[in-house]
């Protein structure tokens, strides 16, 4: 590298950092930096009325899984906590799976429309995506209610004799999370299918492949990156969901997000809440790293 070239590289780096600085300062103050405080708080002792006492303790972390029996003073497994953690994971997985099952045909449908129509269908998927999460959850709440649209339809058509009570059950949270996160599955799937050369299908059919074989051997391998991206995009916000389980679970069916809130706003146990936040952050980071590694391999393979 010539001296002039080295100087140009140095200047480019300096300008790049300087120009990014204002954004980095704001993010450090109000997004990334505060996370360090949560880590510190997870190793402190809970205060009498919420908040913390500045004494080192691993109680917050231990408290995720174990609890001290108030009568015998023995450490026992905290069933309630495990139930909430387990519910968060399986509801998120179920949401991801179901979003995939109904999102794939939807993305396929949009991608195979004539180009003029396609933009409109895409726009129709995007509008709910950008609509306030609270409003969408409230809308689903209205549909699922005892006197809501779903029960009116079921009763009106004579499918059931009595209204079905779905609200405040895991089923309601599952329906709600699928509803609010579905566009996040459809959009990356669409992007993947859109790049798909439909002539490959003709070739497959010419070679006497059955529809099932075409789907499994031709379509799935090619849309796999979109499939993984969509799954991550649905799984990650589902795991950290707060608004949807709060409204549709009615405080009875908590997920990690609501459990964290409980520790802070009800002033119960800040270090436990902080430790739970770190666990949630860790799970999300692992999911994202798996995705980044996979995506990195893909783009390398394609040059």
């Amino acid at each position: 590298m010539s001296p002039a070239e080295a100087e140009a590289v140095r200047r480019s780096a300096r300008d790049g950092w300087l120009l990014s600085l204002p954004a980095l300062v704001i993010l450090t103050l109000a997004a990334v930096g505060p996370l360090a405080i949560v880590l510190v708080y997870s190793f402190l002792t809970p205060g009498q009325h919420g908040n913390v006492v500045w004494d080192f303790s691993t109680g917050g972390w231990v408290g995720i899984l174990w609890t001290k029996d108030i009568f015998t003073g023995e450490w026992v497994l905290a069933d309630g906590h495990l139930t909430i953690l387990w519910r968060s994971v399986w509801l998120s997985l179920l949401t991801t799976l179901f979003a995939l099952v109904i999102g794939f045909p939807t993305a396929w449908f949009i991608a195979t429309r004539p180009p003029r129509e396609r933009a409109l269908w895409l726009f129709l998927i995007t509008i709910p995506f950008w609509t306030n999460l609270l409003i969408r959850t409230y809308a689903i709440n209205e549909v699922l209610r005892r006197e809501g649209l779903m029960n009116s339809l079921l009763l009106g058509l004579g499918i059931t004799d009595a209204p079905i009570e779905v609200l405040y059950t895991p089923t309601a949270i599952f329906i709600g999370m699928t509803y609010v996160h579905l566009p996040l599955m459809v959009l990356p799937l669409f992007a993947a299918i859109d790049r798909f050369d439909l002539r490959l299908l003709e070739a497959a059919y010419d070679l006497y492949a059955s529809r099932w074989q075409v789907l499994r051997r031709v379509i799935l391998p090619i849309v796999k990156p979109g499939l993984i991206a969509g799954s991550i995009l649905v799984f990650v916000p589902s795991l950290g969901a707060y608004v949807t389980p709060r409204i549709l679970g009615g405080g009875k069916q908590m997920m990690i997000g609501n459990f964290i809130e409980l520790q802070f706003l009800q002033g119960k146990n800040w270090p436990l809440g902080a430790a739970l936040s770190m666990v949630l952050l860790l799970m999300v980071t692992v999911a994202l790293l798996v995705y980044v590694r996979h995506a990195g391999r893909r783009s390398q393979a394609h040059g």
């Binding site: 950092w17 949560v38 409230y138």
Partner: protein, 274 residues
């Protein structure tokens, strides 16, 4: 091209699933909007058309205050985040790759990756400590003001402003700027007269996304706000625990309308590029 037969692309059950998905996506929202025009008190039995709930929401002092607060926060957050995002986009695109560039990307996109509840808790703790300290120093006005919410919103809006601006920059033709430089324009003149006007649609798009994202935020606002600082979404969240009337549908519908108008504008702006 004519051979891109649609029969080949048809898979059994796909079209009907897609249509059902679209119906399921819109039916709840349409129902919600429809009941905002309901004449009866109920949010489930239809009593005829009426604008009563819009009038009530309009006259509701809490709704007025929350709306104003939401608009102030979203405006400041959008202006601040778009400004710093524009500068950062200029610093991280169309130049030689430099050490730390990946770090800057990760930092900027970090709010998209960290669960909102975690950021909310983190900000509640940090801002809480600072607020207590400020109050102990006799700086009550500094301790309680909308600036805490504005700062929090500006931070999580940065990636939303950054991404469309960066996309626009990367798609821009370098030759015009080279031409300007060849014609002895100073770097500032080139930026002001050539780069900025070309970049404008990206900046406006980014600002609108940031505005919508700020306007819609619930979780972080709920944890960061001081008493009496409800925004429209946190006010609505509070109301949803109480007896529901179609007034909440009316408020939702108005917020929905603002979002849809801004998004339509956003799409028209970003599409003109092609």
């Amino acid at each position: 091209m004519a051979d891109r037969g649609f029969k080949v692309a048809r898979l059994p059950g796909f079209a009907i699933t897609a249509v059902l998905v679209f119906v399921a996506l819109y039916l709840p929202i349409v129902t919600l909007v429809a009941y905002s025009f309901n004449a009866s008190m109920s949010i489930s039995t239809w009593g005829g058309f009426s604008l009563e709930w819009y009038a009530r929401a309009w006259e509701n002092r809490q709704v007025q205050d929350a709306t104003l607060r939401s608009l102030i926060i979203a405006t400041f957050a959008a202006v601040i985040s778009t400004t710093v995002a524009t500068i950062a986009a200029l610093g991280t695109t169309r130049r030689r790759a430099f050490k730390g560039q990946t770090f800057i990307y990760v930092m900027i996109n970090q709010p998209l990756m960290v669960p909102e509840i975690v950021t909310a808790v983190a900000l509640m703790i940090l801002f809480g400590i600072v607020k207590v300290w400020l109050a102990s120093q006799g700086m009550d006005r500094m301790a309680h003001g909308l600036h805490w919410l504005i700062l929090a919103h500006a931070a999580f809006c940065i990636p939303f402003a950054y991404l469309p601006i960066r996309a626009r920059l990367e798609g821009m033709d370098l030759t015009l700027e080279t031409a300007a430089a060849d014609l002895y324009a100073t770097p500032w003149q080139t930026f002001r007269r050539v780069t900025l006007p070309l970049l404008a649609p990206g900046i406006i798009a980014g600002a609108m996304l940031a505005f919508v994202i700020s306007l819609d935020n619930v979780v972080i606002t709920e944890f960061v706000k001081s008493g009496g600082q409800d925004t429209l979404p946190t006010y609505m969240l509070g109301q949803m625990r109480r007896q529901l009337t179609p007034e909440i549908n009316a408020v939702s519908s108005m917020l929905l309308a603002v979002t849809v108008v801004l998004l339509t504008a956003f799409f028209l702006l970003t599409r003109r590029k092609d």
